[in-house]
């Protein structure tokens, strides 16, 4: 019984595919989900046509359950569309409207078809509603997943970008820290610093915290750990870029930085490092 119902809808869809497609396009355009800055009308039409094809296939093969294997292609196509839109910068509702705007044209068709049979009409409408709602929710879910992927990747990039170890001179490394130091980042910072010490054979490392917004006990502890690890590798650390407010905070928190050389600016720290390495910078004498 249900199967024949479904195939009836598929039948209607098959007969009026082009008309439904153009109506659907009209609705999408009216709803403002086409972002002319992001996607051309042609591209949207192609996308819609492809999805409508899969949608009909799903209806033909297995009616009412959009979670079944018959709907695999439709779901895949939808996932792809949502993911692409998430990356392009569509909003979630703009993405979901793609599916929801299909309701109106299909409902209209059903109404025309079953004008004399309210019972079948209601049943058909309900079935269609369930399918489209499910697919609509799916777009949002996929959209969110794609966005989360983007965020995760950016976090990763940020983590790697924000821990550069630069060589200032033979045997002198600098580690300009930017952003908050949490345990995960400290681990990355520590590893990259220690590896660079091995690579370059450096004996002095300057940790510059000008870009660290706040220093609390945890951050201080992470810094001290990094200093201790570098010392175990035979490199001395100098902490530089301590702003006045941070100096006040450190003392008020009772953090003990007595074992570490601290300097207000990177320049001061570099001067110390040069002196330790028995090097000197002298002004050029112009004759």
């Amino acid at each position: 019984m249900r199967a024949t119902d479904r195939s009836r809808l598929a039948d209607i869809l098959g007969r009026n595919e082009d008309a439904i497609l153009s109506e659907w396009m009209r609705h999408q355009l009216a709803a403002g989900t086409l972002r002319p800055d992001l996607m051309k009308e042609d591209a949207l039409r192609n996308e819609s046509r492809r999805f409508l094809g899969f949608f009909r296939q799903g209806l033909e093969r297995d009616g009412g359950d959009p979670r079944g294997p018959a709907w695999q292609e439709a779901r895949d196509a939808l996932d792809q569309i949502s993911t692409t839109r998430a990356r392009l910068g569509y909003s979630p509702s703009e993405t979901a409207t793609f599916v929801f705007s299909l309701k109106q044209p299909l409902f209209d068709r059903l109404r025309d078809e079953f004008r004399d049979d309210p019972e079948t009409l209601t049943k058909e409408l309900w079935g269609l509603n369930v399918i489209l709602d499910h697919l609509g929710l799916r777009t949002t879910e996929t959209y969110q997943k794609a966005r989360e992927d983007v965020i995760r990747r950016q976090q990763q990039d940020l983590m790697e970008l924000s821990t550069p170890v630069v060589q200032l001179w033979d045997g002198i490394l600098a580690l300009p820290l930017i952003g908050t130091l949490d345990s995960e980042r400290t681990q990355v910072v520590m590893e990259s610093l220690l590896n660079r010490i091995v690579e370059t054979g450096a004996s002095i490392a300057i940790i510059d915290i000008t870009g660290v917004p706040t220093v609390d006990t945890l951050v201080a502890q992470h810094l001290l750990k990094t200093v201790a690890a570098a010392r175990l590798m035979g490199a001395d650390c100098i902490i530089s870029g301590i702003r006045p407010q941070i100096a006040q905070t450190i003392v008020h928190l009772g953090v003990d930085l007595a074992d570490v050389i601290t300097k207000a600016t990177l320049a001061d720290a570099f001067a110390i490092a040069l002196r330790r390495a028995k090097l000197a910078v002298t002004p050029q004498v112009v004759s």
Partner: protein, 127 residues
């Protein structure tokens, strides 16, 4: 029984740990080394742990102890060639080996001992 060789180089002792340190071996090393320092009147001890891939708290503490004992016998201990992973582990274990001198490699460790020796002419090291 397995032993870690202790080589004499001038007035320095060189210990290269090439095998995985287990507790018993560490104890033996401690005994051998103190005896050797006293016997040869060595000024410096270089412990090369560049082949050591793993440390636990016991080995970390043993290194600390050995350094302190050598200090009592008036020899300076320098631990050289620690791997980054080992350094991180020791710090995470809360054993930053305070009081132990460290250097990146044997060469730098040797320099450290020499510099220290020269600097201490007026200290208690003067014979």
């Amino acid at each position: 029984m397995e032993r870690i060789p202790i080589l004499k180089m001038g007035d320095c002792l060189l210990v290269t740990i090439q095998v995985d340190m287990h507790d018993r071996l560490a104890m033996t090393l401690q005994e051998d080394l103190t005896e050797k320092i006293a016997h040869t009147r060595a000024r410096g001890v270089l412990i090369d742990i560049s082949a050591l891939e793993m440390v636990d708290s016991f080995i970390g503490r043993m290194l600390s102890f050995i350094a302190s004992m050598a200090r009592v016998l008036d020899a300076r201990t320098v631990v050289v060639g620690m791997r980054p992973a080992v350094a991180i582990t020791l710090v995470e274990l809360g054993l930053p080996l305070t009081g132990v001198h460290t250097a990146l490699n044997v060469e730098k460790g040797m320099e450290l001992i020499r510099a220290d020796d020269q600097g201490a002419v007026n200290g208690r090291r003067q014979a």
